[in-house]
Amino acid sequence: MVGLEHYLILSAVLFSIGLYGALAKRNAIIILMSIELMLNAVNITMVAFSRYIVPLLLTGQIFAIFVMVVAAAEVAVGLAIIIAIYRHRETIDATKINLMKW
């Protein structure tokens, strides 16, 4: 029988994969995709808690909806920044975008 721990472990695995991608990749779009993976993992956690701890309150599902709103705004602004950087510098390699590096 599938329980709360199964969902939490699945979400931890997805979050770790996203964390690895966000830290180890050079392509800025892949980094953004990894961040989306991490947000999805967090959403799974919140819906699982909502289902198993307080099945009648649905608070976790409301939080998941707001996380989706923020994720949509984040991906729109993030991709706009990536395209603006590409226009100026002809690259989206995150290791070469070091203008603000001290």
Binding site: A24, A64, I82, R87
Partner: protein, 162 residues
């Protein structure tokens, strides 16, 4: 029983798709496997009896966000260069594995107060009541469109031709 089988299939396909996102060399194929991962997450929501969230997941992530990401990949011509890793590949892998181990250890050793009540079905009226009703989340609901408006304006200003 059926929920267990569905969960295991969705979990395995979802983790495989997520691994493909970070391991594939081809950026476009990585984006397509990200779409597959979003779809399996929608299926996971259905096994958690969150029907409204599953529909929202398909609409927003599979419909809108993946289209935005694929559009950005098409606009930036980085497809030929693939998706190489930087010098931090090994430390990042170690950090991710350590994080996973810590989280799994913590959640297996926590006594969760699991409720035995059956889940609410359908969830849409209850979510509507919570979002718009008395004592609910009406203030965040009013702030969310402001955030989206600011994001849209910011995106337009950022990519506008000078």
């Amino acid at each position: 029983m059926g929920v267990s089988v569905a969960f295991w299939i969705l979990a395995i396909v979802g983790v495989m798709a997520a691994l493909a996102v970070v391991l594939l060399r081809d950026v476009f194929r990585a984006a397509l496997s990200l779409v597959l991962c979003f779809l399996t997450v929608a299926g996971i929501y259905i096994t958690l009896s969150a029907d409204f969230l599953a529909a929202v997941q398909v609409l927003i992530y599979v419909g809108a966000i993946s289209v935005l990401i694929i559009l950005a990949i098409m606009l930036t011509r980085e497809v030929q260069r693939g998706s190489p890793s930087n010098r931090l590949q090994v430390p990042a892998f170690i950090i991710a594995v350590l994080f996973l181990g810590g989280v799994v250890f913590a959640l297996l050793n926590t006594p969760w107060a699991v409720s035995s009540a059956p889940p609410l079905e359908p969830t849409t009226p209850a979510i509507a009541g919570l979002l718009f009703g008395e004592g609910g989340f009406i203030l965040p609901v009013e702030i969310a469109p402001l955030l989206l408006l600011a994001a849209i304006l910011g995106a337009i200003v950022l990519v506008r031709e000078k």
